[in-house]
Amino acid sequence: MTFLRRQLPVVIAFVLGMFVLIIFYIPAAPMQDIGDRLKVFVTIIGAFAMLLGINSILGQHITKIRKRRPGYGYSWVLILGFVTMMIAWIPWWSAPPADSAAYYPWGGLENSKGAFYWMFFWMMVPMQATMFSILAFYIASAAYRSFRAKTLEASVLLVAAVIVMLGRVPLGTSLTAWLPETGFWSSLRMEEMTSWLLNVPNAAGFRGIVLGVALGIIATSVRIIFGVEKTYMGGGD
């Protein structure tokens, strides 16, 4: 049992990890084919794992309804929504018209007059856009709260933030539109300063982080392949 839980996963991780690493250097077709096939497994496992996920969320909410925990009405909404969307998506095949490969009378996103399409565009899309647009409000409170000129660095950050914010909207660029478009003074135009800030200091910082991240990824991958790091398997130390 310990072998199955502790050693075997490490062995599989090592063998497959090394194999995928090695075939990166082998251009010959048979090796690349095996690599491609291995990647398909990820998709297959993901599809089966989705069942676990569905089991998890439905199980939770069914328990909530059964035990009449506070707010169990919302669990009904979730289950109803889940079932409705799933039924609407199932492609209900009938005889396909002559020029079509597959035809969905009222299921699937492919049918623009179907129920799924309707629910997707007139319920899902607006709700998602609403969630996304809440960002505007949160940006406001976050900016109000955290952009304080407490130190010199914070003040520099603050000034840069103001310039970029103004440089990205017509109102801001129209403030400096009177400056000449070429020559020395043009570099003081809002959009020019914004583009400099984004391309020089910002890009430099980004790249530094990205380099560190890339190295960290390699080091972590090596730890996993060699079984040094096993916490993610629930194995502890």
């Binding site: 899309v125 996304f132 109000y144 984004l198 790249r207």
Partner: protein, 278 residues
């Protein structure tokens, strides 16, 4: 920590700043096109009628507000130049419907026919493999288009059986990490130029591709969409949103200033208190 009335005041002001300019539109500030947006516009502008371009609708409803106006503007521009448009979605299944909707709306408006002047190929997972395959054969990858129609005798695909050598431009409207694979597996080996559009947040991230010349144009967020609308002289949702965005940004700057005044007053008060105690 914000007091809750402060929070609601901020949110209320933002709501007003967003809604009022949308309800009462005005046209005061000129939206000057930036170099990056002109990169995409000029490339399409310089194509000949009858050329084919690919528009990758690589976003889903959550980034629709920013990228959908961009898609409409690019399609309008392409159709007005009598270009053929092949649209595709490799980001997630939810993007296909948006592409179909945009193509039908704009195409219908401009008298273009589905399957002849444009086609939406729909979603396929496994980006790198799909892109490589499209470079050599479209129909092999897509037996049917997004509407379920067979691609076998579709006129637009008869004319353009594959990307490599046939298409003159690729525009990737990306909500996620699709620009890099499009460059690596599509544009670079296929030898066609490429431009990209992205959300304002990822603009800084994608700029390195523009700097290196791997893409010849980059449209970032609603502002770029508005610039494009202004370039094709057909203002739409993005231009309407620009006033709101301008005012909200200005409001944010004011919030920051007010926040700092409050902060400094608090610091002063604390110092005065300390002095009194001393």
């Amino acid at each position: 920590m914000l007091r809750s009335w402060e929070r609601y005041l901020l949110y209320g002001l933002i709501a007003f700043a967003v809604f009022l300019p949308l309800i009462f539109p005005f046209d005061v500030w000129e939206n000057l096109p930036t170099r990056e947006v002109l990169g995409v516009y000029n490339t399409i502008e310089n194509l000949q009628p009858g050329d084919t371009i690919v528009v990758a609708v690589d976003f889903d409803p959550s980034s629709e507000p920013e990228l959908y106006p961009m898609l409409l503007a690019v399609l309008r521009h392409a159709f007005s130049k009598d270009l053929y448009v092949i649209a595709i979605n490799l980001f997630g299944p939810a993007g296909t419907g948006l592409g179909v909707m945009a193509l039908n709306d704009v195409g219908g408006d401009m008298g273009k026919v589905d399957g002849e002047d444009y086609v939406m190929l729909g979603f396929k997972p496994n980006l790198p493999a799909v892109i490589s395959q499209l470079n050599s054969d479209i129909k092999e990858m897509y037996r049917s288009d997004a509407n379920g129609k067979s691609t076998a005798d579709m006129p637009i695909l008869e004319r353009t059986p594959k990307f490599q050598g046939n298409i003159k431009y690729l525009v990737d409207l990306a909500a996620g990490e699709t620009v890099r694979p499009w460059i690596a597996y599509g544009s670079a080996p296929g030898g066609y130029p490429m431009g990209a559009g992205c959300t304002a947040v990822s603009f800084a991230d994608y700029f390195s591709f523009y700097q290196s010349g791997q893409i010849n144009g980059l449209m970032g967020g609603l502002k770029a969409a508005a610039e494009y609308e202004e370039l094709i002289e057909r203002k739409g949702a993005a231009s309407a949103g620009m006033n709101s965005q301008s005012i909200v940004h200005a409001l944010l700057v004011i919030f920051i200033i007010v926040g700092n005044i409050a902060f400094f007053r608090a610091v002063m008060a604390k110092r005065a208190e300390a002095r009194e105690r001393a």
